[in-house]
């Protein structure tokens, strides 16, 4: 299969800090591929290596058939990049920003006008077209940045945490726009630390400390999670939590409202009974039931459980 992005053993060090510790990546075309990971997991560094802004310490990358960073210049015409921070010109208006980016990408005047008209209509920029970018709201900036990044009809769009400063409704609209682009054949790589966004991706790589901890379709990842998820409902959650501390099999406990969500190893035999037994002295009325895994469970199982010394201690 012809992938939009292929990376092998990609690594980047900053002095002694290892930001990306050797990852293999295959991003299919015309899909949304997500990078899910906490801050500092290497999402931005990887994206910057993919567009040639950073030179890898080790490893190889091919993006749209071009070797990076060697052919970064050729690639730049086919690539749209939205930085984590709003990086258009705050003292230019919406329209001036689009006009400038169109010229920088060398789009002919007639086509440029047509594209700007199209983006202004599609991304709901008509009302604010004369407004300076510095005065826009988070959601408006996002739409402008996406319009600017897609002005040259890029084959690949790299979005680095595009919705960090955006309200939920704007985020929904933003994703609608992304799906429209994918339908037109664009490949999109998006980094995020929001679970709901990660769930929308066709495929997902969960990054943790510079490594890919899990990779695949969100649904499959949830199905194949390397843990069983158990929910506990009881009156005294503080006491319940204390009681669960004595159960060695438990790998993670998280509170959701008045429920506890507990991860135990997938191969544990009848974990419900073990938990009920542990809870009996303090919360005899506790309801314990096995539930389906969410993406957050996958994320927790893949990142926190694998390598943190604390969890290894608990697992041991």
């Amino acid at each position: 299969m012809n992938f939009a992005i292929s990376a092998r053993g990609l690594a980047r060090h900053f002095g002694k800090v290892i930001a990306v510790a050797g990852i293999d990546l295959d991003v299919p075309r015309a899909q949304i591929y997500g990078f899910l990971g906490p801050n500092g997991s290497g999402k931005s560094t990887t994206i910057r290596m993919l567009c040639g802004l950073l030179v890898p310490t080790r490893g190889t990358v091919t993006v749209l058939g071009h070797e990076v960073p060697r052919d970064a210049e050729v690639l730049r015409r086919k690539l749209g990049y939205m930085t984590q921070r709003f990086s258009l010109w705050e003292d230019l208006t919406v329209e001036e920003n689009l006009e400038f980016m169109g010229r920088v990408y060398g789009i002919e005047r007639g086509l440029r006008r047509e594209r700007i008209r199209d983006r202004v209509a599609n991304y709901d920029l008509a009302v604010i077209r004369g407004q300076r970018a510095g005065t826009l709201s988070g959601g408006e900036r996002q739409r402008l940045a996406l319009a600017a990044a897609t002005l040259h009809d890029p084959e690949l769009l790299l979005l680095d945490e595009p919705t960090s400063a955006v309200d939920p409704q704007s985020r929904r609209d933003f994703w609608e726009n992304l799906f429209a682009l994918v339908a037109a054949g664009t490949t999109i790589l998006v980094s995020t630390h929001y679970m709901d966004e990660a769930e929308r991706c066709h495929r997902l790589a969960i990054l943790d400390r510079g490594r890919i901890a899990a990779e695949g379709e969100p649904k499959i990842l949830a199905r194949d999670i390397d843990a069983a998820v158990i929910e506990i409902e009881c009156g005294d959650l503080v006491a319940a939590r204390r009681s669960l501390g004595a159960v060695p099999a438990i790998r993670s406990v998280a509170q959701l409202g008045n429920r506890l969500r507990v991860l135990v190893p997938r191969d544990a035999r009848d974990p419900e009974r073990e938990l009920r037994a542990a809870l009996a002295p303090h919360c005899p009325e506790a309801r314990v039931e096995r539930v389906g895994a969410s993406l957050e469970d996958v994320f927790v199982a893949a990142t926190r459980l694998r390598s943190s010394p604390e969890s290894q201690e608990r697992a041991a």
Partner: protein, 364 residues
């Protein structure tokens, strides 16, 4: 108590932040040191070693002794013999000599008769502080040696190119260079660093824009601004201070263009070093101090120690001052200024090369 606690919290935070900005810490020490060294060692009203052209029309033992006496004052240096009055004028026009000494053919008789000046000292009035030099030379009692009684006016002093000895005539052209240095260096340095600070640059370098397009595009508007400033200064100088342009306007603009380019390239280089606008600003000031003090704008270049003169050679303003004084005041042509033009060109080439080498379309 808590009132002071909050105050100290703010002061302590300020000091902590300052101490983390290494360039600023360096400049806290650097700026006073540079200033003190410049003012203490380099700036000197006692002019020495002024380039001089001598036209000895008498060619007697007395005239040779006179020249020897003048040389012995150490005020004059680098004495060159001119074959004719025209050659002497040309040497001064090109700025190769700042003082001209003309000894009359009938030196002995003039001294004996004492009613006409036996010697003329021409001073380049476009340079600061040189008239004082001439006054000093004129009052040296060298002619007593000739044996005769002192004549009334043994030495005639002529201030060339600025006969009325007006300060404005010296200041206006020189100020043109100073103002251009200020705006060109600071504007470009901060214009590029601002885009880095705001994150615009990260976006720009992922587009197909080349480093050359990016740099030239950023500089071009400032070239125009520089030419507008030049025009403004010269126009105001003409109308308000009555400073005419003796040379060709075309030559003047061509010279200004080269100087503007050199200053912009310096600003560009600073922008590749600075991380913040604040740092860029400070670095620009560090280059401006020696430019203003050592370029011969305020203080005579000839009075400075050798080391200071070498440093001054590295500053574009030093060479532009020569060019603009030559063209505006002495009516020189641009072709008379070849050494200065060459030095400015070298400066421009070196700065551009360094900047392009330091500026990558990458973040690392």
């Amino acid at each position: 108590m808590s009132w002071f606690a909050r105050l100290f919290a703010i002061a302590a935070k300020e000091i902590r932040q300052l101490s983390r900005d290494r360039i600023t810490v360096g400049l806290i020490v650097g700026i006073p040191t540079i200033q003190l060294l410049l003012f203490g060692y380099a700036i000197n009203y006692d002019v020495r070693g002024v380039a001089t052209a001598v036209l000895d029309q008498a060619r007697t033992s007395l005239s040779r002794r006179l020249v020897g006496d003048l040389r012995a004052t150490q005020v004059l240096g680098n004495l060159r013999q001119a074959g004719s009055e025209r050659e002497l004028r040309e040497l001064m026009q090109r700025g190769e000599a700042n003082v001209g000494i003309v000894i009359a053919p009938d030196l002995e008789r003039r001294i004996a008769e004492g009613d006409r000046a036996a010697m003329q000292i021409l001073v380049d009035g476009s340079q600061p502080a040189l008239e004082n030099v001439a006054e000093g030379l004129g009052s040296i009692p060298l002619l007593r040696r000739a044996g005769a009684q002192a004549p009334h006016r043994p030495v005639e002093i002529i201030v060339a190119y600025n006969p009325a000895k007006r300060t404005a005539v010296q200041i206006v052209p020189a100020l043109c260079g100073v103002i251009l240095t200020m705006t060109m260096v600071i504007f470009t340095a901060s214009a590029i660093v601002r885009e880095r600070e705001r994150g615009n640059l990260e976006l720009l370098i992922t587009t197909p824009v080349t480093v050359g397009q990016l740099m030239a595009g950023k500089l071009l508007p400032y070239v125009a601004i520089g030419l507008i400033q030049t025009t403004l200064i010269l126009a105001l100088g003409y109308w308000l201070f009555d400073v005419p342009v003796a040379g060709r306007l075309f030559d003047l603009y061509l010279g200004a263009l080269l100087f503007i380019a050199a200053s912009l390239s310096l600003g560009l280089f600073i922008s590749t070093l600075a991380q913040t606008q604040f740092q860029a600003m400070q670095m620009a000031i560090v280059t401006m101090l020696p430019s203003i003090l050592m370029s011969g704008f305020m203080f005579p270049f000839e009075g400075m120690p050798k080391v200071a003169q070498w440093i001054a050679q590295l500053l574009p303003l030093t060479h532009f001052n020569e060019i603009i004084r030559g063209i505006v005041l002495r009516g020189a042509a641009l072709t008379d200024m070849r050494p200065e033009l060459a030095k400015l060109t070298v400066f421009l080439a070196v700065m551009l090369t360094l900047s392009i080498k330091r500026f990558h379309k990458r973040l690392d």
